[in-house]
């Protein structure tokens, strides 16, 4: 349990109505955040990762919602991949921060540093930097941090080790139960 009741950084207050009832059911939480993300446009402004009621939204701040999703999409950018696949990685992490003070500190301080670096460099917080090229310059500065590496590692597993989207990358996954490929086109190539 995070004993630190005081946020480690300050964000502008969310204009959204924040309920006092945290979303405690993990599945419900995921479902909610997933749904929200699906409704969001490609460029996410507000909404996305967390339900407005969630611990993460309240403690890490409503802006972190947009910031973390944009960060996730910038680390492994696949323009045709829906937000929900990034959300599926980031939401559980933000959720886990409620019970993991160290993780909370990592995320909270990381988001603060990300925005501070962005403001220093481009005069606006990360999520408001207009081009990917400029955001990548900021991210390159954060690359050595445990915050960045933690998110990168989680995304690598969450995106490229996600069987649900393997077909879209042209990867087959487990094959033994289907009899392998010996009778399923192992030798097929028609362009040589």
């Amino acid at each position: 349990m995070n004993k630190n009741k005081k946020p480690l950084f300050s964000f502008r207050k969310s204009s959204q109505d924040v309920s006092d009832t945290p979303c405690t059911d993990r599945r419900e939480f995921l479902a909610k955040s997933g749904k929200l993300a699906l409704g969001a446009s490609a460029i996410v402004v507000g909404g996305g990762l967390f339900s407005p009621n969630s611990f993460a939204a309240k403690k890490i701040g409503a802006d972190a919602n947009a910031t973390l999703l944009k960060l996730a999409r910038d680390i492994y950018p696949h323009d045709t991949l829906e937000d929900k696949y990034y959300v599926q990685v980031m939401s559980p992490m933000a959720d886990a921060a409620e019970k993991d003070a160290e993780l909370f500190k990592l995320l909270a301080e990381g988001v603060t540093l990300l925005d501070k670096t962005s403001v220093d460099k481009y005069g606006v917080p990360y999520s408001q930097i207009k081009t990917e090229q400029e955001r990548v310059i900021v991210l390159k500065m954060l690359e050595p941090t445990p915050f960045f590496q933690k998110i990168k590692g989680a995304l690598m597993m969450g995106i490229y080790n996600n069987p649900e989207i393997w077909p879209r990358f042209g990867y087959g996954g487990s094959a033994w139960e289907k009899g392998g490929y010996i009778n399923r086109g192992y030798d097929a190539v028609d362009w040589l």
Binding site: K152, M156, Y160, G170, Y171, G180, Y181, G185, Y186
Partner: protein, 526 residues
């Protein structure tokens, strides 16, 4: 029927490790009626434990005890705690291998004679020749079931799409490319089924078509009633008597209790990090630098092969994962031809990774993110590629040492692995990158990605064979120069790495060593 031996039975051979070296030695000795206890640090897995899932199997079977990689090479930065990619389990690294089974070339046993002294390297001839090894290679090929060999008469696997793309590129640049000789059945053989091309050779073969001591040598050895395998038994030290002969092995059992198994002979086969580590950890007032270390070579000359990866992206699908992991090999540059700008040779081994591992190794380490990487991964289905496997020069300062203060969960000093390129390795790798690009460009590659070396599955040289006791740790039989009844039975006894994957040679040496141990025991020499 598995045997059960008493801890005080001092008539036994104690074999440490159950992989290609230890597992083979146990079975070979057992077939001759020689009894042994096999101490294996890892668990015993069942066939059902083997899944077609890269990360799950990595987490399940890998040797993940604390280790450090140090030195200026990129691997120390990318994988600071994972120098080697090997297995902790019954069967050892024979679970995690692609089945590539090639014999060494003649010159690879004679690197010093072939090239003379190599500045900055510690190159030596083996005290064994190819001619002498040939009958044992035949036995090893039969035992393991290597396709494409006279020894088995078993046909090659068919040509997969991945193979065809590379073979076409090789043809266009005039390079020799052949299907790989694999210890993977293409027919029902030895009670095991033929390959059905699952594409997960490296994660453990789910159907047992690939040779692994886990389900071949070990159960066969146990069936003789001459062998007891004790999984989850981590060796702490090897004991010796006043005469300097080894007398037993102290280990921590699965409950963490210390046990001392007495022994007539001890054979060390824990792979090239653990084997020298055991000898170093067994230091005593009689052997202050560790067992069998009068030469100072225990832990030195650590070799991994000169490696790297090359993955090309094409416009159209290759679906490389629908293949044995290594369907073929470009042999063009395997000879020792200094006119190329480097000594010794390399093979380009056609090899696929699944998407999960490709995401981790295409640009490993902290900087592996961003649009270029993502775009390449989005093109995974249209990729074809190689793993470069070339001879690694023996360099004394590439070594395994013990951490001065940090201990692992068994209370043993954590191993520290120092590994960096000899200039010959760098030149060879660059040559291989360049030829690979030519090959892939010839068949229309849109982009060719060079991958740096990743954690090594081929680990060799840290208890090397030598003719003279001053130059190495063991003699031509893998017997310690200093201690008659102590043997090294794994790849750590390699004097040079060769360009070929080490397993076949480890198995051939173990078969040969079993003959020698049996003979020496009969003569009461040990």
């Amino acid at each position: 029927m598995s045997a059960k031996f008493d801890l005080n039975d001092d008539s036994l051979v104690v074999i440490i490790g159950s992989g290609a070296g230890g597992g083979t030695l146990a079975n070979e000795l057992a077939q001759k009626g020689i009894r042994s206890v096999v101490l294996e640090a890892g668990k015993r897995f069942k066939m059902d434990d083997i899944e077609n899932d890269e990360w799950k199997m990595f987490g399940k079977i890998s040797w993940l005890d604390k280790r450090y990689v140090v030195g200026p090479a990129r691997i120390a930065e990318d994988f600071p705690n994972l120098p080697a990619w090997i297995v902790k389990g019954v069967g050892g690294a024979t679970m995690h291998w692609a089945g590539v089974a090639m014999r060494f070339q003649e010159h690879e046993f004679k690197m010093k004679t072939t090239n003379g002294t190599v500045p900055g390297a510690n190159v030596l001839d083996w005290p064994v020749s190819l001619e002498e090894m040939e009958p044992y290679y035949v036995k090893a090929e039969k035992k393991m079931g290597v396709c494409g060999t006279e020894a088995t008469g078993m046909p090659y696997h068919g040509k997969s799409s991945h193979y065809k793309v590379v073979a076409e590129g090789a043809k266009r640049i005039g390079a020799r490319c052949e299907q790989a000789k694999l210890a993977i059945n293409t027919e029902v053989r030895d009670g095991r089924p033929p390959c059905q091309v699952n594409g997960f050779c490296m994660q453990g073969c789910r159907i047992g078509a690939k040779w692994s001591t886990m389900y071949t040598e070990i159960p066969k050895a146990e069936a003789t009633g001459n062998v007891e395998v004790r999984p989850q038994s981590m060796v702490l030290r090897i004991e010796h008597d006043k005469t300097g002969k080894v007398t037993g092995v102290l280990y921590a059992d699965k409950d963490g209790n210390q046990q001392l198994q007495k022994a007539r002979v001890v054979a060390v086969a824990g792979n090239s990090i653990e084997s020298p580590r055991m000898l170093l950890n067994s230091e005593s007032s009689m052997f202050p630098d560790g067992l069998a270390n009068s030469s100072g070579q225990v832990g030195q000359n650590y070799m991994t092969h000169t490696t790297g990866g090359v993955y090309a992206e094409f416009e159209k699908p290759v679906h490389m994962y629908k293949s044995t992991v290594v369907p073929g090999i470009v042999h063009e540059w395997k000879g020792n031809d200094p006119t190329r700008g480097h000594l010794a040779g390399y093979e380009l081994e056609i090899l696929h990774l699944g998407l999960p591992f490709m995401s981790a190794f295409l640009n490993p380490g902290k900087g592996g993110w961003g649009r270029e990487l993502a775009d390449s991964l989005a093109n995974y289905g249209n990729m074809a590629g190689f793993w470069i496997c070339g001879e690694d020069m023996a360099v004394e300062s590439n070594n395994i040492t013990l951490h001065a203060t940090e201990k692992d969960q068994y209370g043993l000093p954590v191993p520290v692995v120092y590994k960096t390129d000899h200039i010959n390795d760098t030149r060879m790798r660059n040559h291989a990158y360049d030829r690979s690009k030519e090959l892939f460009d010839a068949v229309g590659a849109l982009k060719v990605n060079n991958l740096p070396p990743y954690p090594a599955s081929h680990n060799m040289g840290t208890n090397r064979m030598s003719e003279h006791a001053r130059d190495g740790v063991v003699n031509r039989w893998g017997q310690a120069h200093d201690i008659k009844n102590l043997f090294v039975s794994d790849g750590s006894q390699f004097t040079s790495s060769g360009t070929e994957n080490p397993t076949l040679t480890i198995v051939a040496l173990a078969i040969r060593q079993a003959d020698y141990i049996a003979d020496q025991m009969k003569r009461k020499e040990i």
